[in-house]
Symmetry: C2
Subunit: 243 residues, 2 copies
DNA sequence: CGGAAATTTGAAATCGCTCAATGATAGTGG
DNA sequence: CCACTATCATTGAGCGATTTCAAATTTCCG
């Protein structure tokens, strides 16, 4: 594991180190979590947002009949739980997928940060729009593609995001999700996930060992997934010069 | 049809009429659209956001093999196309679902509005988070529930939103989507949509006539859909007093 | 080493899809 | 106003992908 990657804040527009320090100061607590540990449950009063220092965190929406959809896998550097700021009670549960460290930031402090720094507010706004695009793509994958395609898209997307965090990452990465969790992420059954993973291995698109996945043929996986490629803006030209 | 509902801007925090005027002034053009007319295509350079004055607009993501997912139905009062602000090229296509009027707002003007009014910026931020929650629920519906459940959830959600726009709306509303479009929204086939709609009629949950839908038994539909109910905040307590 | 959790396998059932044809409806131009 | 055409809705039949259920095997962890 590695420490608090901060470049995620630079995704769209660079923040001053003052602002980064301010965010770090805003935290009231740092949680040390075991795999499967619940950070916050769906329906809880919305009192905090979270910053993932290390480890993976799932955002899970549960239906009233107990079925679970993993709406998002959060990686180190992500600010988590902001969607629920629009709600009185949390939209989903936040659960650690492996050993993780998470900073707890009270909503008041977060709101103050946004109010004090238009730059920070704008970065948050754009980051949220980016999340929306990723959700739309996830939706499209689940709504319109087959099991192998969904798994391909999911793994590729994770891989892309991991590369942003750790430049040196290769075609292979640690994958802490159980097949049941993967199923909950891509809208399938764990049994079918198992068979489809084997099929992808047989087709030499991926390999598995321990808790790792190797994307053997990224090109072919991308072709299979058949999602549009996205190019996110960094410093949009239309950004008001001031701030 | 009716004119530009503005209460959507009041959803979270009330805007001054100055800000509302500013938004109206920001538009460079008003489009008059026929059903099926394309406002903007997926992949287009991102140059505008849009304000739906009347009519319905679909946001559609197309896979590389030509399958279409309707990610969102936009109704009058919605600001549309903001997710693509995080991209160089539009995430999806915007297409009128019926005769519609749409204001065109250059991204620069929109950005300037956000920069000049922290209140407006904050309202946009929260509104976007709300969109994210709705997308997560849509995802959960498609990923984890059956055809009748998905249709129930979709119709209920639309109905809720229509009620926000027009208080006087009853259990019945105009529904301009073709069955093919409904299929693209809920991740099914038009043939299966047809059969499932008939099943829902047989079970006396809905009725259909012309281009209208009646939610005969809202209680039962909600039970069927099995999605969590959401309560969005209006003026969050943690909102910084100033601004 | 022992027990729990996760993976894998098999067989059968089901849901939703595909293909193909028919019927209904609405918009268009004469 | 009617005929014409395109789009949309509906139906049937067969197929295929994914689920369900249940059991066996492997891995993980204390």
């Amino acid at each position: 594991m590695f420490e608090a990657p901060l470049h995620r804040f630079h995704e769209f527009t660079s923040l001053s180190s003052d602002e980064i320090d301010a965010l770090k100061d805003a935290k009231t607590e740092r949680l040390e979590l075991e795999r499967k540990q619940v950070i916050r449950s769906q329906g809880d009063k919305v009192a905090h947002v979270y910053f993932v220092v290390s480890g993976w965190v799932a955002e899970i929406v549960e239906t009233t009949n107990g079925r679970r959809q993993i709406a998002k896998i959060h990686l180190p550097g992500d600010i988590v739980g902001t969607a629920s700021l629009s709600l009185e009670r949390a939209a989903g549960s936040l659960i650690a997928l492996n050993r993780a460290r998470v900073d707890v930031i009270p909503v008041e402090a977060f709101a103050r940060l946004m109010a004090q720094s238009p730059r920070f507010a704008f970065a948050m706004f754009l980051s949220t729009q980016k999340e929306r695009v990723m959700l739309m793509d996830h939706l499209t994958s689940i709504g319109r593609t087959s099991a192998p395609q969904r798994i391909a898209a999911f793994l590729l997307h994770l891989h892309e995001r991991l590369k942003l965090i750790d430049e040196r990452i290769g075609k292979s990465f640690e994958f802490p999700l159980s097949q049941e969790e993967l199923a909950q992420a891509v809208g399938l059954t764990s049994v079918h996930i198992n068979r489809t993973l084997q099929e992808l291995e047989r087709r030499r698109l991926i390999e598995r060992s321990d808790r790792r996945v190797t994307l053997t043929d990224v090109r072919a996986l991308r072709e299979l997934a058949s999602l549009p490629t996205r190019k996110f803006v960094r410093d949009p030209a239309w950004l008001p010069a001031a701030a």
